[in-house]
């Protein structure tokens, strides 16, 4: 799609209520956008669906953790910029923001002590899947900007 002869970069915007149940809709949309660009294969499409799922989950959880009010209920916004061979994906929330450089560090996954933590895998996964990743503090929340080319370099693992 969106990669027709006349197409440069196409923008798709999706605003979703901050509810766990809509994360699957975000995955559907990014999956369809990736599937429509022949330079993205099925596996890369799966990467995109996973990354968008992680980013939306964080956005939703940040908002639902806030007291009742506009920043609890405001929609999260997904912005897909689809150009030939490249998909840029921005997820914006009103979850109050955080410092991505000061995340709690967990023991390595193979350390038995790691089993104490169920969380903390989302951002490492996004880092791994996206070719570029940026967190922007914005407007009482965060915009996570991820860029995807057709293929992630192979052999990378979450560290």
């Amino acid at each position: 799609m969106v990669v027709g002869p006349e197409a440069e970069v196409e923008v798709v915007v999706l605003a979703l209520p901050p509810r766990p149940e809509v994360v699957s809709v975000a995955r559907l949309v990014v999956g369809a956008l990736a599937a429509a660009d022949p330079s993205f294969d099925d596996e890369r499409g799966a990467d995109l669906r996973l990354a968008v799922s992680e980013a939306c989950t964080n956005a939703i959880q940040a908002q639902l953790g806030r007291p009742a009010g506009p920043s609890h209920d405001a929609p999260i916004e997904l912005r897909f910029e689809v150009g030939p061979g490249c998909i840029e994906l921005a997820v914006s929330d009103h979850g109050g923001g955080f410092d991505p450089d000061r995340l709690e560090s967990h023991p390595a996954v193979t350390d038995p002590a790691r089993l104490e933590y169920e969380g903390g895998l989302g951002i490492p996964l996004i880092r791994l899947l996206a070719d570029e990743l940026e967190f922007r503090a914005a407007d009482g929340g965060t915009t996570v900007v991820m860029t995807f080319g057709p293929r992630v370099s192979t052999g990378r693992v979450v560290s």
Binding site: P20, E21, V23, S24, R27, D42, E43, A46, R49, L50, S53, E54, T57, I60, Q61, A108, V109, T110, R114, L115, E116, Y117, E118, G119, L121, G122, P124, L125, L128, R156, V157, V158
Partner: protein, 111 residues
């Protein structure tokens, strides 16, 4: 959304067949089911991911939590997974070295 859970017993193990998508919307149901097993003194568990189309870190977190709980009781939680796309998520997170992963329920139980 779409999560299917089917529980059976096999050779002293509880086998939980999971289908559909495991994400922040559906993971709570999976977590509940696994906690219930442990509360029922079932500490030998196979989670068969055979029907899973999608799993993200929220789903992985639930499996990590369950592994912790059964290990505390001297038990084991093993996985069945053959789908390359799902295996990849375990591999890139390093969790393939944490969970015992078999291609069949028998393999998973055999360790």
């Amino acid at each position: 959304m779409d999560l299917r859970l089917e529980l059976s017993e096999q050779g002293g193990w509880s086998v939980l067949l999971v289908g559909g998508e495991v994400d922040v919307a559906t993971a709570p149901r999976l977590r509940e089911q696994l906690i219930k097993l442990v509360n029922d003194q079932r500490f030998q568990i196979v989670v068969d991911l055979g029907g899973v189309d999608f799993i993200d870190s929220t789903g992985l977190g639930v499996l990590i939590g369950a592994l912790k709980r059964v290990r505390t009781q001297g038990g084991e939680l093993a996985l069945v997974c053959t789908e390359r796309r799902i295996l990849k998520v375990f591999e890139i997170t390093g969790l393939d070295r944490v969970f015992r992963i078999g291609g069949t329920v028998e393999e998973a139980m055999a360790g």
